[in-house]
């Protein structure tokens, strides 16, 4: 009556039971090798979402017409494997109930438990990655589940991987990618979507915010020059409307608010989430 609560993602007014989409955060960044801080990403993306409108003039759709719940953040306690296990179970629970999980990172390593839940829910599936980095190292600084190995670990779960926007990696990663994934330095084009569509499988999308150029997303742990603008990325996401019956979940990771200016990275992430959610709804 007198009070209002802005602590959730904008328009996340549904209960879990009634929701079609369930947004949550995994504020974990302990394997980060360079600049940690993505643990603060989920809460800042939520806050930034309130600076946007609920309506997309491009899609002519409105978040007010969508059943979205916000579950807050995964409990960060215990060693990495325990957090992975908790994230996996939460994700699987969401999907088992027929809802679409929307995960906000945190570092990229935490995409793994969500993708494993996709695997265990849908068996055969396609992984689509937007990223500046290959993330194909078999291990990094001695950790097989680090942010720099996450797509390699996902490759253990599916060999249907599409990598877009990639512009950094060591020689071995690139050779591995060339051989084993569909790796591209560019964003997806209509033909790519058609090809993916033809496979007719569940699709999970993981978006590392550093696929954007550092000018558009300075607030991230390992900014890599020569990336894309937010408009280029979102325009390419609109193509996924064709895949809307296939997409079973997505995430946006690696937003690091303390390295940002005026929250422009969090706002970009919040808009990416809004537009992709509206695209597939």
């Amino acid at each position: 009556m007198y009070f209002e609560d802005f602590s959730k993602y904008i328009c996340a007014y549904s209960d879990f039971e009634d929701a079609d989409f369930a947004i949550f955060g995994i504020p974990y960044d302990a394997t980060t090798s360079y600049k940690p801080g993505t643990r603060f990403g989920p809460d800042e993306i939520r806050k930034a979402s309130w600076g946007l409108e609920t309506y997309s003039p491009v899609l002519k759709k409105d978040l007010t017409d969508i059943a979205l719940c916000d579950l807050y953040n995964i409990i960060i306690e215990g060693a990495q494997d325990e957090i992975i296990r908790r994230s996996y179970r939460a994700s699987k629970n969401i999907m088992k109930k027929g809802k679409v999980p929307i995960m906000m990172g945190g570092e990229h390593s935490i995409t793994y438990p969500v993708v494993k839940a996709v695997k265990d829910t849908y068996e055969d599936f396609i992984l689509i990655q937007f990223d500046a980095h290959c993330d194909l190292r078999d291990e990094y600084l001695g950790n097989k589940y680090s942010h720099a190995s996450v797509i390699r670990r996902c490759f253990d779960l599916t060999n249907n991987i599409y990598q877009f926007g990639i512009r950094s990696g060591d020689k071995e990663e690139w050779e591995f990618g060339m051989e084993n994934t569909k790796i591209s330095t560019d964003l997806p084009k209509k033909d790519d979507i058609k090809e993916i569509k033809s496979l007719d499988k569940p699709v999970y999308i993981t978006i590392d915010i550093d696929v954007l150029d550092p000018a558009y997303a300075p607030g991230t742990g390992t900014p890599e020059p020569c990336g894309f603008s937010t408009k280029e990325l979102i325009t390419s996401l609109y193509l996924f409307e064709e895949l809307k019956d296939n997409i079973v979940g997505f995430d946006v990771v690696e937003v690091s608010p303390h390295y940002d200016i005026n929250d422009i990275t969090s706002i970009a992430a919040a808009k990416i989430i809004r537009e992709l959610m509206l695209t597939i709804s």
Copy 2:
């Protein structure tokens, strides 16, 4: 089971009905003449509270033993008088139910509706102010309810006003204060508390964070040099244990997070709230 929610003040686990203390924010700063931004104060104080422990080693008391609820923030919509009215009603509602309101600002002007609710609940009362500035202008830039006039407006409600830590104001304000309030450039001493105790009336405390020196609280709208350290302020607050049966509410205002460094001002505010709450519990 998998998720956790850090969006409230630490340990604010009670429902409103069960609570003895009800914390809430008034994120309003539209009359601010210099640097606006205190509207972001309440949420940052909440966030900062999670970096503290729940236990006070000085008081040997623990927040876990207190029934505290967090009502989130007053709805900020409409003109200033409408927000004043809403804040007044919310505050009165809390006090009518016998609970102690703890208000987080926001600019200092929003202390007025809470104090008016004190007046209308308890009739005769004492106002204790910690501040760098007199805030005794009859009007400021044409507004009788501006942050610079708030104590003058409170003087319309009670002439029992104690002003501590004051070190800035124009000539007229100082003359008004000398004549009409107990104005001091220093923090309260034992004798002050004894004097207040002897009046035996309900007491409301308003703490403008700029009573602290800018070194200790840079994140505020009009930092004024030559203030106090956080330790000096909190030590003086411990004296209020003597008044714990009299205190019917308090606020901490003028925290402006975007002008802060590493949230030290928000953390100071969160600790002031914890220690004062434990002192009077």
Copy 3:
């Protein structure tokens, strides 16, 4: 002889009487719903102008050949309606004397009094808006003269409104715009200019700096992703040479220096002003 004064916009060496262009600021931001701070815009744009040259290599024109005066800022005292009135009178005074006002904001709401002065000076006129947001709400948070309603208020004065670069608004605003204004998600093209030229009326241009992408203008209150580069904007402004006899004034608003990095938003604003002033001179 020994001293120099950099407190005005670069090259603003004329007296008011001799000037063809009169630049001034309206440092007002009290209706801002999200991040206030545009009140600091005018002074930072002035300061930033000194990092530019006076010469435009594209236009091959020099500010030294222009008679420009800088009147400093509108007095900010009193309630919003009083500030609106003062801004209106100052603007009308400038135009009555046959000079071109160049206004620096401040939040977008303060475009209204300037446009009203255009109305009362020239009667029939065209309004051209560059913005990320429609600003077509009939009222916002209970205020009919808020920044989010400014173009709607201007619509009360003229129904010749061209909106360029718009990419955010609620559903009702978009529907209103579709029906009542020329609303475009793109920047103006030659054909747009030709169409406007054919109407043969006085033209006022208002530029909300957030028409730029947040990468190019992070220092603003509500940054909206997917905008334009400074080069794209300025290139489109060069097209207005064709309208130079029609343009009776312009403004650049919503620069919020405390949210900026290395003043790049203020510098962009200062260059937009220089290039548009040289274009129409």
Copy 4:
């Protein structure tokens, strides 16, 4: 009528001819060895002064009762010796007309031309320095007129030098100071003032803002831990009332705004100037 100008130090409403005090800046920092940026000091101190009141509750005096003019900044053009010459002439011109110069730096090296003007105006004089550093090197990085040599250069002009608050310097500087100046790690006490008074000579005061602890003045080029609070410094300045007939000028230097947080260093400098000006008026 409609406009206001905040580009000067608060209350500097007098013309040069009528003024008793003439404030001006020397925005020069090219010999700075560590972190440059004090060239932005004078303008930020001016801006910060508007966040203060004109009235000092301690001194019970008001700036409105003082005839102060602000001459803006010395022209920074040409090599160091040319800027020194220009600063010298401007300072001498002020003093020859019987006015008190108040100089805002800029790096400490620019105290030299002002002190030389004191010498050439008053011949015999006393120099009082507040600083964290000795500044007694005979030369620094090959420059005899660097910020680290300024007091040594002043020693060429007078051997009546009092150094207060000093806590850093190399071994040679300390030995030189021990032998040739009154060097103290502490702030002045009543006895120091009495001793200075007894010499009955013109007095010039130079205050390097880094005499304050970095907590109180982070915005400076070479912050040195273990300094004083602003209150301690200003309290010691009040003692100079006794010397008010002797003081012929003063400066505050080494404020570096881009390294500051929420302008607290500029505000401290602005208050130091206000209080010292009121003390000696």
Copy 5:
């Protein structure tokens, strides 16, 4: 001949073999629960040391008279236990050769391997801690070797622990401390030193920079209000001259440069190291 190298701590010109003191960093922060970033501490403390003089006017000693080497940073690769092992071996190697290790953190957890090396080199020893927090949890978020458990782990190695400046901890930690360590909310006094001296054992000192108040050391992970000034801390360190034959090593940890303003925390750490090194040399 033409080039200079500032990448080491100032005056660290000795080879390892010739050195009496060996400074090194452990840039590890992966167990940090709140704000990570202390991994950047060691390099920033080194950089900050170049803004100091080599001479201490209080101690009248000069770093140029000390044989100091800088070994750069421990290799951060592998899981936490591997980094612990590597840090342990490096520390032991330094002590076995009769040198005094000076470790720069990094989060507080990395004090453990150094203290274990003290244990294995000297057997019986005293640990002296300066800190805002008890760090006495038996485990934290499931980790027995976290930053919040480090002193508890050290207690497994010695029951001669002195804790100074402590002002935060949960109830269990305080009870544990009361029973098992010498825990004090204050800094050490002469009597404390005398008592420690009387035990006549090797002494290791660990200084968590957050023992300072956040005003003096904002750049740290969990700033806790009501702490000490840098001058108070360093003054208490001078007392350790009495123990100079006992001290076998020390560390300064928890400096987090990305949360700092103008490096004042790194500079404080660099000065603490200089003064303590000179005190015991």
Copy 6:
């Protein structure tokens, strides 16, 4: 064995004698007229290089296959002419030994001594400049060797100058450029490279980071809107493969880290260096 050293540019593992490329910094910025701070550029570019991979997926080359040494920074002591002399000698020494110097600034003026060393080593040569500004003033603020005159001074050494990306300068500079250099507002195209190739002379390249748009390189002294993206710049640099036998050295200057956000300017500079080094290797 236990320690690692990240203080050099990534992969700079060679000794000077064995190196083909010698990287070094000139941390000088004392003639800077606007915002100083490029003296911190070289060390931040080094640090930023460690966030990149050593492998270029575009060029399919790896830094690990290149013999690179890092000589640290030129000694900054003495007046400007002394520093110029030292930089000149160091550069010439590198080239005389048949190595390619890679210089990191520092302000643009320090390109002059390197170019003079090119002149004295190779006699006839071509200078290629990437910049937002002409830098063709005959003198600036009374200094013939200022950053704003550097290309004019180079013109004294060669009249084969190509200027790319230029978008700012005063009228005289543009006229001088039109007459005497190949000045272009655009980046080089294939035809430009062909033309340069046809001259068959040694080539030196100087890259002022402000050729990039401020969105991509905010961390610089005089950001000029309407520039290029990092991808556009680097793509144009790939064209220089054709000239790889001609290129005898290059520099990247004007990176000013304290005005940057999350080091994105330093990272861009580090990548420009990596890609250009790999292009010509």
